[in-house]
């Protein structure tokens, strides 16, 4: 059962990264459209992604409220006519779906190059990362991986709630400072490239995240 849950969460992760083909995407969307848990997972992955990308993006207050309000408003406009016409998905599985899913689908459609623009994690590393990092925050060090995986959605929700209470702390907690440190060391000694002087150094000096 845990395996099944994990597989579904990996599917959400892949969906977030635009790595699913049409059929899989339709299935994943259908699940997101109908399951509160799936939406919580989807949200948690994005929070983790944001936090990994930048401390500045980690403050996720209001996201869920915003989506909830958007869903309500869209539902109020016209639930019947908005649906299929607005959904550019070829697979029809979600076409009849709820407005909330339509919103997600719409935004998802032009994402062929999704992986380009965001931190992505690869397959199983995703749930491991998400859960371990979030788990940290709650002081659950040392528990079994399977137990952590099973706890993922609940943990994600808890962090989202926690960040409302103390918006400044999770932003720091969620990143892996050791990896940041090694990334900085890689930039320092690893920039061994014939492109370094023409552009590499400028790239690093411009892009480099300062230490916290």
């Amino acid at each position: 059962m845990h395996d099944n849950e994990q597989r579904r969460r990996e599917m959400i992760s892949a969906l977030a990264d635009g790595q699913l083909d049409d059929g899989e995407r339709a299935a994943a969307m259908a699940w997101v459209a109908t399951s509160e848990e799936a939406r919580a997972t989807w949200h948690a992955y994005h929070v983790v992604g944001d936090a990994l990308r930048s401390a500045d993006l980690a403050d996720c207050r209001g996201d869920r409220d915003f989506v909830a309000r958007l869903r309500q408003r869209l539902a109020a406009v016209d639930a019947d006519s908005a649906g299929p016409a607005a959904v550019p998905l070829r697979a029809g599985a979600v076409a009849s779906a709820q407005i909330g899913a339509t919103v997600v689908a719409d935004a998802m459609a032009p994402s062929a190059n999704d992986a380009v623009v965001r931190w992505k994690w690869l397959a199983a590393a995703a749930s491991m990362m998400a859960v371990s990092v979030l788990g940290w925050h709650l002081g659950q060090l040392g528990s079994q991986a399977s137990a952590q995986l099973a706890a993922a959605p609940a943990t994600g929700t808890a962090v989202a709630a926690g960040s409302t209470a103390a918006p400044n702390e999770p932003a720091v907690m969620l990143r892996d400072p050791r990896l940041d440190e090694l990334l900085a060391a890689h930039r320092r000694f690893g920039g061994t490239s014939a492109l370094q002087t023409p552009a590499g150094f400028l790239r690093n000096a411009t892009f480099e995240q300062p230490g916290r």
Partner: protein, 363 residues
Amino acid sequence: MRAATCFRTGPVLLRRAVGCFVLVLAGATTVVAQVSAPAPSATVPAGVNSTSQVAGELGISEWLARMHGASRQRTYIGTFVVTAGGNMSSAKIWHVCNGDLQMERVESLSGQPRSTFRRNDQVITFLPGSRTAVAERRESLGLFPDLLRGTDAAIGQYYSAHQRGVERVAGQEADVVQLQPKDKLRFGYRIWSEKNTGLVMKLQTLDADGRVLEQAAFSELQMDAPVSVAKLTQMMENTEGYRVDKPESTKTTPDAEGWAIRNPVPGFKSMTCHKRKSAAATDGAKPDGAMQWVFSDGLASVSLFVEAYDRRRHVVEGSMALGATHTLTRRWSDKTGDWWLTLIGEVPRSTLAAFALGLERTR
């Protein structure tokens, strides 16, 4: 080959108006690779060996020498924009040369304020927020002529250069040069090199499908602008009010540390090996002592970090990608004990995995 795909606007961006704006900026540069390469307009720079030229087209070493030469001869002020992994950063750049001396000032325009100064291979970064300055020597900055001379054959063996016409970047006409990898162990590059000087105006890193992983480009450039060496020197040396950190590491060899690569990854040569001094405060009694072994194929580099496995600290195995930079973290065990590997490089994840597989403990 697929043409570079426009940066997408996805669900993440729904809620991030600022990010959206940024990506629109970066995404405005959708590039369609031209099928036929017109005759090259660039002239071979003096003193560059042109034996690898193919029928009037510049070889990869000529292009690289030309680009490198431009940054040693031109003075300019510009705005530089980097987009990687959904993050955009920009900075104002001052660049000046005087004989063998090259100086640069990079003033961040996004994120937290910081200024970086470079005087040849000496680099200092001021972080006004924490009143600290990080001073370091970056050996890799002095390596270029050696890289080209020493591994020229290797660069040519693993990448090929193709000219893809002429485009305008930041108001300048630029030759578009594609550096195409010959295997799947490395990424490709598309470089916009200013027509007259060779200055790199824009650089894209591309995956095997031709998708843009990251991009660095001038959005605005003032060539031959007045930049004063004396003034930059004075700013660089003025550390008053700052705590100056000097990250410490000692040179070592993989052999001395008891490591070897049993199955080398084609094209990647061992460049340097350092042992990091610990940041004592964070690690308590246990020294950090991670070894950093750097490999390069002339264009891409890989850092292999090895440290003793610590059950409390080393919990998360996995891999991630930020633009072209990939990471791979995993536990490594043999009969001698348990180790924790972190690989970081501007290469596909599978290349990092090949490094991890080829590693061998020699004692």
